[in-house]
Symmetry: D2
Subunit: 358 residues, 4 copies
C-alpha cells in the first residue's frame, strides 16, 4: 500500500486525482529560514506544459501555500501546497468504463483496487504530478543554497534528435502528425546536476544514482534510465571506461565523465548526468484491442478524452523536480544543509525580530 | 527534522499552523473499498471541543475531503482532508513575541527553528491536532471492519475523580474556578481498545503498547503513560501480578487483565487498557517569570490569548484518534485488513459496476 | 512484521534468540572517525547483570566486532557485533511446551507465529537485549562527543524505596525472599539525560519524550513511563506546574524542571528526566493456572527454567542503552553530530594517514 | 548516512567489509513457518562465482544461520546469516593507499568518510554482496510460495552477444584476453520475473519497476536499467507500443509485452522483464592517471590486487537476489504472503506440535 512519499528526510507526500477537487503535496523536513516566494512555485508550475501545442488539457494551475511558510520564509513545519483542478471533462470516460485502455493503468488499478475513480486516469494521470513539480520548486531552493543546479534538455522527440535549432519545428510537426494520424510519440531526456558537493550517496542501497533512478522510473511512461555512459559502458574496456583522476580548478575531479559523476554510488564534484526514455502517450484515437470487463469478451476501443501528442516535455519538467527533491534530500542527509546552515544557532533566538518594531 | 507522520503502513501526515489558512492531513495506505462518509468525519470533529465551557476558541471546523474517496468509498489513493481556520485573533500574540510563555513551546521553537510563526502557538497549538482527529475517523472505520472499538473515559479532572454522575458539575466548577483564579488544571484519561484480534504488535521495537505509548506521549501536555496495572505493577509479586490463562466464551484469554491486554508486546484478545495524565493548560493570565529575548533580561509576562481552562477533554478526543490510527496500522501490518479483506480479488474487476447502467 | 530496528538515522537492528547460537546487532548510520574500543563495549556488557544474586543465568558475554571498525575507529559502514550464547539449559522448557506460562510471551508468540522456538523464552527473553546494550555503548560514544551523559538510578525495588545506603541490603533480602517464596518482584527506575543540547525532538510525532517513551516501553516488563512530574502533573495548577524561565550559568533555562526537560517535545538545555516501572519477573515456581494447548483444557503449571528474582536492575542497564540510542539518533537528526563534526571535510582526504609511514 | 537496508516490510540489512572478519545480513520481516534449509542458501552462494576463470578471488563461502530458524522453519524473528572471509591478501593494497584507483570508490569513500579501511575495496568490493545473495535465497523461498520465479540470462559479454551455444567460448576468450591485455570487460543481463500475481506495485513512488530499478542500480558497476522495450520505446508510436489486452489461458493479459509486465507501475500477470548494463571491472594492471592524496600531485598507478576479468556473471547472481528481495517485499506488502498464508490462524496454536511426542 502507500507509496505516495518521495525522500527520506526531505519528504514529499503527494495526493490528488486528475478529475478530483484538487491536487497537492505536503513537504516535510524542510529546514526553517529558507526563503520561499509564491513566484518560485508559480514559475515551475508554468513550465508544466512547456509546449501547449502537444497537450489538449491546459490548466491555469491556481495554487496556494497553506502552511509552513510565514512572512516569506519556511518555519520548519510541513509545507502544504494545493492546486485546484478546473479544466475537467469527465463524461467521455464514462463510455470506456468497462474497457481498459491499452498502455494505461486502467486495467491494473481495477485489478489492484477494485473500486476506482474512472475519470481522466485518476491518480495515474500525468496531471497528478503537478504537485511534485511544486515540491520541486522548494527543493531547487535548497539546492541553490549549495550552488547546486538541476537542468535538463530534450535529446530526442518521436525518434528525431533535437537541439535548440530544430526543436520548435520538430514539436510542431509532431503535433501536426498526431492530429492527422491520431497517434502519439515519445522521447529521450538528459538531466544534469551541476556542481554537486562531494559525498552525496551511500555505499549499498542508497547510491545517489539509484535514488535518482528510482525517482525517474516512477515518472509515468519512463522505460529506461542510464547514468554516464549508460548501456554503452558495457561495451568498453576498463582502460577506456575508467575516468582518469586529476585536478580541475584546484579540485580533485575526473576530466572525463563516463561514470556520470558517481563512484561507488557517491558524488565527487563532477556533474551527475543521466538520461531516460519516455514511451508514447498511451491514449490514442485509433481503435485498439481490449477486453470488456463486464461481458469478459474481447472488444475494440478507442479513447476520446484529451491526451498529449507527446508527453516527453512534461516528463522533463517532472524529472527536474524529482531530481531536485532527491538532491535536496541527500544534501540534508549528508549534512550540507540543516537548520544550522541557514540560521546559525547563535542567531536563532533573535532571527527575524531585529528589524521589526513590535 | 520532519516528524509529522504517524504510522508505518497506514500513514497519517498532518500539516497546518494554529492561525494559518487551514489545517489538514494526508492519509496514505488506506485500502480501497472502505466506506467513508463525510458524516463520520464530521462526527469526530464535532467532538473536538466536548465541553465548550472549558475552551475559549471554538471553531466550526468546516472540512472537505479533497482526494482518495470516490462515490463514498476509498480508492486506495491518499485521502487528503482540509479544515479551515476561521476564528483567529492574532494580535494579542504580538505583545509577547519576545517573552516566551512558561510551559509553552515558544522558547524551544525559537531555539530550534529561529524563524517562527508567533501567532497562536503555531504548530504547537492544540488546535493543530484537529487534523489527526479527522484521520482518526478513517482509522476507526478500519477498526470497525474487525469489530475493534476504541473508547475512552475521563478518570480525573483537576485532581477530582470523575464519573458519569459528577462529571458535568466538576467541569462547571473547574471552568468557574479558572475564570476566577485565571489558572488552569489537568486530568487523567483511560483508553480501552475492545476486542483486538490476537497477534497485534511485534517482539522487540514495535510492541503494541510501545507504539500506542509513543502516539499518546506525542499529544501536547501528556506527561505519563501506563498500560494495565501500570506503575502499580512494580509493587506486586508475580504470583499476584501474572494473569492466569483460561477460557472465556470459548477463547483463550486471561480472566484478570493486569497486563493490560499485551504479553511480550503482542495482543491475545483481552482488551488493551491504558491511562495517561495531562498537565494543566500552560497559558494563564497570572504573571509568570520569563526572559525577554531581545534585551536578554528577566521579565514578567502573562498571556492574553484564548486558552482552555482544562485541555484534558480535548486530549481525550485526540487520544482516541491516535489509538485508532495505531490500531488500524497494526491491523493492516498483521494482515487482518487488506485490499483483499474488503474487496475480494475475484470481485475486483467488477466492483461497483454491477448495479450501474453505464 | 519486522520491528527489530530502533532509531531513524542511527539505526540499531538486533537479532538472536535466548538459546540460539548467538545474539547480535547491526548499527547503521554511525558517522566515520568515531573512536570505538572493544573495552567500551565490554564495560557495558559487564553491567548486564549488575547483581548476580538476583539472576540465575549468568553469561560471560564473549563478543566480537565483525565490521564497521578499522584500527580503532568507525569507518561509516554498518557495525556488526556478535555475542555468543553459552550457558543454556533448554531441557526444562520441553516439559512446558504445551502450557504457556502466565505473564510470559509464550501464548502470544504461539498465537502470532505458530511455529516457535520453545527454548528459554526465545526472542522474548531478557537475554536477547544484550545486543541492544552493546549498541548502547556505541551510542554513548556519540553522546560523549557533545558532552551528553545518560545516567540512571534505582528508585524502588519490590516496593521498597532504595538509595545508595540501603540498596545492597534490599537486594539481598529480595534475593533471599525470592528463594524462600519462589516468587519475584519488580521496581522503578529513573533515567537522566544530562546536558542535552537545545533543539532535540520535533513538534508532532517525534517529540523527544515520545521517542524515549517508545524505546522504554519496548523493554520487557515495563508498564509505565513518566516524564518530569509525570502523573502528578495532572493534579497541579498551571501556576504551580509551569517552570519559570530564567538564566542559569549564562544560558536560558528553567530553574525548576517539572516539564522534565522538554517543551513542545523539544529540549532546551535542562536535563531530561523520566521514570518507568518494571513488573515482577513472570517466571515463578509457584503453580499457576494455564491452558494445555494440546488438550485445550485448563492445566496448572510451574516454571522450572532459571529466572531473575528481580529483573529491574537489568532493565535499568537496557534503559540506559536505548536512551543513549534515541539521544544519538536525535543528535544526528538535529545536525549536532555528523561526519563533518568528527572529521572536518578539509581533513578527510588525509585523515589517519599523516602519522603512518606507508 | 545509513543506506544498508533493502526493502520496506521484508527488510534485508547487510554488513561487512571485503577483508574484514566476515560478512553477513539480517533479514527482518520474514513470516514464520517458511521452510528454510541451509542447502538452499548454499546453492545460491555457490553460484556467486559462476565462472571462476573470470575471477581471481575464489571464496569457499562458509556460512552459518545464527538466528530466526528453528528445526528447519522460520519463526518470524530476524534471520541472521554470517559468511566468513578467508581468502584475503591485503598487503598489495598498502602500496596504493594514497592513490585512488580510477573507476573505483577509493576516492569517494575517502572524500565522504575520511577514515577508511584501505584493504580490498572495503565495503565497495563486489565481495560484500555475497550476503545479499544469501538473503536472496530466503526471498526466493517466499516467491515460490506464490509460484513466482526469478530467472536471468546473460545477453552480452565484452560487447559480444551470448547464448547458451557460444557462452562458454566467449567467456574463455574474454578471460584469455584479459590476461594478455591486463584489461577488463562488461556486459548486459536480462532478468525475468515469471508469473507475478496481479497488483504488485503502487501508483506514485513505489512502482514495481522503480523499486526493481533502484535495487539493480545499487549493484556495483550497473550503469543502465531498461524495462520492457526500454529506450527503444521512445522511438515507437503508441499504436505500435501499446500492448493489446486480451485473454491468455483464461486470464486477462497482454499478448505482447512491450510494457515489460507493468502498467501504471503495477503488475497484471505478464512476466516482468528488464535489462541492465554492467561496466568493465575497474581494477586493471594497465597504468592509469590518478592523484597522490599525500603530495596532492598527479601520479600514475596500476592495481595489483586480484580482480575479475569480467564481473557481469557475478552481477547477474546479485541481480536475481535483489529482484527476489523486492518481489518478496511486494508480495508481503500486497497481502499475498503473510503469517496467515503460511500457517493459517486456526492451526497456529498447535503447529509443529502434532507430530511430536513431548
Amino acid at each position: 500500500m502507500a507509496g505516495n512519499t518521495l525522500g527520506n528526510i526531505f519528504r514529499v507526500t503527494t495526493w490528488g486525482e486528475s478529475h478530483g477537487d484538487s491536487i497537492g503535496c505536503v513537504i516535510d523536513g524542510c529546514p526553517a529560514g529558507l526563503r520561499l516566494s509564491p513566484r518560485q512555485i508559480r514559475d515551475e508550475l508554468t513550465r508544466d506544459i512547456p509546449y501547449p501545442v502537444l497537450t489538449r488539457r491546459v490548466e491555469t494551475n491556481n495554487f496556494q501555500i497553506l502552511s509552513g511558510v510565514f512572512e516569506g520564509y519556511t518555519i520548519g513545519t510541513p509545507i502544504s501546497i494545493i492546486i485546484r483542478n478546473s479544466n475537467v471533462e469527465s463524461d467521455k470516460y464514462k463510455k470506456i468504463i468497462h474497457t481498459p485502455r491499452p498502455g494505461h493503468a486502467d486495467l491494473t488499478y481495477r485489478m489492484k483496487y477494485g473500486h476506482v475513480d474512472w475519470r481522466g486516469g485518476s491518480r495515474a494521470s500525468g496531471r497528478t504530478w503537478i504537485s511534485t513539480v511544486a515540491a520541486g520548486a522548494v527543493a531547487k531552493n535548497i539546492c541553490k543554497l549549495k550552488s547546486v543546479a538541476v537542468t535538463s534538455r530534450l535529446l530526442e522527440l518521436g525518434g528525431y534528435k533535437v537541439n535548440p535549432d530544430n526543436l520548435e519545428s520538430v514539436i510542431e510537426s509532431l503535433a501536426e502528425e498526431s492530429k492527422e494520424t491520431n497517434d502519439t510519440t515519445g522521447g529521450i531526456i538528459e538531466v544534469k546536476i551541476k556542481n554537486p558537493p562531494v559525498g552525496l550517496g551511500a555505499p549499498m542501497f542508497n547510491r545517489f544514482q539509484a535514488d535518482l533512478g528510482h525517482a525517474i522510473l516512477n515518472i509515468p511512461g519512463v522505460k529506461s534510465f542510464e547514468i554516464g555512459s549508460g548501456k554503452y559502458s558495457s561495451r568498453l574496456k576498463a582502460s577506456l571506461f575508467n575516468d582518469p583522476i586529476d585536478f580541475k580548478e584546484g579540485k580533485i575531479k575526473t576530466l572525463r565523465n563516463r561514470a556520470g559523476g558517481v563512484l561507488g554510488g557517491i558524488t565527487y564534484g563532477n556533474p551527475v548526468i543521466f538520461r531516460f526514455a519516455v514511451k508514447p502517450t498511451p491514449s490514442i484515437l485509433i481503435p485498439q484491442k481490449s477486453v470488456n470487463l463486464r461481458t469478459m469478451k474481447s472488444a475494440m476501443m478507442s479513447t476520446e478524452g484529451r491526451f498529449d501528442a507527446n508527453y516527453t516535455p512534461r516528463a522533463q519538467v517532472v524529472s527536474e523536480a524529482v531530481s531536485a527533491i532527491i538532491t535536496a534530500d541527500h544534501l540534508i542527509l549528508s549534512g550540507y544543509v540543516s537548520h544550522d546552515s541557514i540560521i546559525p544557532r547563535k542567531e536563532r533566538l533573535l532571527f527575524g525580530m531585529q528589524t521589526r518594531d513590535l
